[in-house]
């Protein structure tokens, strides 16, 4: 059985989808069987959401509308869980990423 899901979320974390948030994001993505991808625009380019190298390469700063899509088993759950993580600001209090 296969399914597909897609949604968007605004990154509000103060440094965006960067080092530490990316670690959490890719770790969560890897818990799903579905293929998951992210993009900064509806028409791509799409990056593998399970690869931190690719997610970092997307260079998504705060204020970016992040597009997340998944296909395959549990696609809906994967998209929902990842959107939720972004909306929770990656469960960070962000004090360690304050700039000078």
């Amino acid at each position: 059985m296969s399914a597909a899901a897609e949604a968007t979320v605004l990154i509000t974390h103060d440094v965006g989808l960067h080092a530490r948030p990316s670690v959490k994001f890719t770790k969560l993505a890897k818990t799903f069987a579905a293929d998951v991808e992210i993009a900064l625009a509806a028409n791509g380019p799409w990056f593998d959401a399970k690869s931190i190298v690719k997610v970092m390469a997307a260079k998504a700063p705060k204020g970016t509308v992040l597009h997340i899509r998944a296909s395959g088993n549990g696609a809906d759950d994967a998209v929902r869980a990842l959107i939720d993580l972004v909306q929770r600001d990656f469960d960070e209090d962000a004090d360690h990423v304050r700039s000078a």
Binding site: K27, V53, M56, P61, A94, A100
Partner: protein
């Protein structure tokens, strides 16, 4: 020999120099591609297990960085292309370097400081594996050494024992790097951007990371002067901390309100509200990055700061884009942006964007002691139009049954026309003097131009006279006056500001203790 640089983490260090850029040992190639692949796999594994061991001993900031390195090392997106390069005839070290250098180049090409700074992490990841490949564990610096080189890897910082002092002096480097952040939180002195490379990296050196310089092969006189500055810095720091928790009072017993300037709602996470009198300036430009923020995003940002401040006032400045702060899709290209469409002028020209911010502010107002001010006001008509927009949006929110409140509305005093003729603004709720812009407009010296930096002094009599007359006008007319420019946190400027009549300053959070200490030394 003295070399100037940029301070990245304040403090002083005296110790032996240690060269960070000594060439690594040479990798011995293997007979077959299969052996090369095994060697690379083993080296990556070794690097990961070294990092994992370091995570256990690290605090949460450091652990976050190490976990990021581990995740990168474990990603097939790095090892896969390296294995492919080995299959096509490269040795393990060349293959790994080739893949990582391509990634590094991508980060270095970024137009954002944060991503350019990540190139250092990638070089660290590259070198950890190369080090494991050559079995060179990396020699450690002697205790208390000043680490000197092109740049420093975060793991090198974390491996170093800083308990006996020491510091960092870099030719490249960035004040936004992970290492600079760690150095500041641990109090390790660090200077970046040295103007020239040190001629020799042997012997003793003196690192002054308060002003940004390193002295190589110091003379006895230089050592004496350095130790004096160093102990005076330690004494000032220790003393300032004692002032942090107390209300600011001058030597004559005059109370001075000291608030903080913030740029991002998360800034307040690191500040104890008990140590300040509120937020004298919350900038909102940070919300206007790549995309324009919607009403909900802004409302949540304002709420966060209001919730943190409790009963204390929070003064939010409506978006001050333009000038040296361009926002794509909002500001316009201009030949002379500091004299162009910036601050309130731009907001009034783009009502679609301004109204969104006004609605978010109206909705946030019932949740705390909010005050709102407009930047770059030069005529009373601008204030009146902005205030009328608040009234209009309030009516619309009331019609929709949404909770709201019109906060006290004030203005920034930063354009000379307002400072010279404040009588046109007798109806505003408060004045906040923006000393940076007021100074650059009075002195006709752009504040982003180093060639005219010597003209840009808030202590010029012309600037101080304007500050004094605005403060007097406020006192006579019952309009509170504060100051939120950099001068407010500058111990050298504070006596003049208090003498000009100001009793309300807003400073960067890091300057709070030093500002209170400086106030205690003034006799007005």
């Amino acid at each position: 020999m003295r070399i100037e640089g940029v301070p990245a983490s304040a403090g002083y260090a005296e110790g032996p120099l240690f060269d960070l850029d000594r060439p690594p040992a040479v990798y011995a190639g293997k007979a077959t591609a299969a052996e090369e692949k095994t060697a690379l796999e083993a080296a990556i594994g070794k690097a990961v297990s070294r990092l994992t061991a370091m995570v256990e001993a690290a605090d949460s900031d450091a652990a976050g960085i190490l976990e990021f390195h581990i995740a990168m090392l474990e990603d097939d997106a790095l090892s896969g292309p390296a294995f492919a390069a080995i299959a096509s005839g490269r040795t393990a070290d060349v293959a790994w370097r080739q893949v990582l250098d391509a990634e590094i180049a991508g980060y270095e090409a970024s137009d954002q400081d944060y991503f350019r700074a990540r190139a250092t992490d990638l070089r660290d990841i590259r070198d950890q594996v190369l080090r494991a490949l050559t079995e060179d564990g990396g020699s450690t610096a002697p205790s208390g050494a000043i680490l000197c080189g092109e740049d420093i890897a975060p793991t090198r910082f974390l491996e170093t024992d800083w308990s006996h002092g020491g510091g960092i002096a870099l030719k490249a480097g960035s004040t936004a790097s992970h290492v600079a952040m760690l150095a500041r939180s641990r109090g390790v002195p660090m200077v970046v951007g040295l103007r020239e490379p040190p001629a020799s990296l042997a012997g003793m050196a003196l690192l002054d990371a308060e002003h940004g310089s390193i002295v190589l092969a110091p003379s006895p006189a230089e050592i004496g002067a350095f130790r004096q500055s160093s102990s005076s810095f330690a004494a000032r720091q220790g003393m300032a901390q004692r002032f942090l928790a107390r209300p600011a009072v001058t030597r004559a017993g005059t109370a001075v309100r000291v608030q903080v300037n913030i740029a991002d709602p998360s800034d307040v996470d690191a500040i104890d509200i008990a140590t300040c009198d509120g937020v004298g300036l919350m900038r909102t430009e940070f919300l206007f990055g790549k995309t324009l923020p919607d009403e909900e995003t802004q409302y949540r940002a304002y709420r966060k700061v209001l919730d943190w401040a409790g009963d204390k006032p929070v003064t939010i400045r409506t978006v001050d884009a333009g000038g040296d702060k361009p926002v794509p899709g909002f500001t316009v290209e201009e030949g002379n942006p500091f004299l162009g469409l910036r601050g309130i002028r731009l907001s009034l020209a783009r009502l679609d964007i301004f109204r969104v911010q006004i609605r978010a502010l109206l909705r946030a107002a019932p949740h705390g002691n909010l005050r709102v001010m407009f930047p770059m006001i030069s005529m009373a008509d601008e204030y009146e139009r902005a205030a009328a927009l608040f009234a209009e949006e309030q009516t619309a929110l009331v019609a929709r049954g949404i909770a709201q409140k019109v906060p006290p509305l004030g203005i920034m005093v930063e354009v000379p026309s307002v400072a010279i003729a404040p009588e046109g603004f007798a109806g505003v709720a408060f004045f906040s003097i923006g000393s940076n812009d007021l100074t650059q407009y009075v002195m006709a010296a752009a504040r982003d131009n180093a060639a005219v930096a010597h003209l840009n002094s808030v202590r010029h009599p012309a600037v101080l006279r304007l500050i004094g007359s605005v403060t007097a006008f406020g006192r006579e007319n019952g309009i509170p006056v504060s100051l939120c420019g950099d001068a407010g946190g500058d111990p050298a400027a504070i006596p003049s500001l208090l003498e000009a009549g100001l009793r309300d300053l807003s400073v960067a959070p890091a300057q709070l203790a030093m500002a209170k200490a400086a106030i205690a030394d003034v006799s007005v």
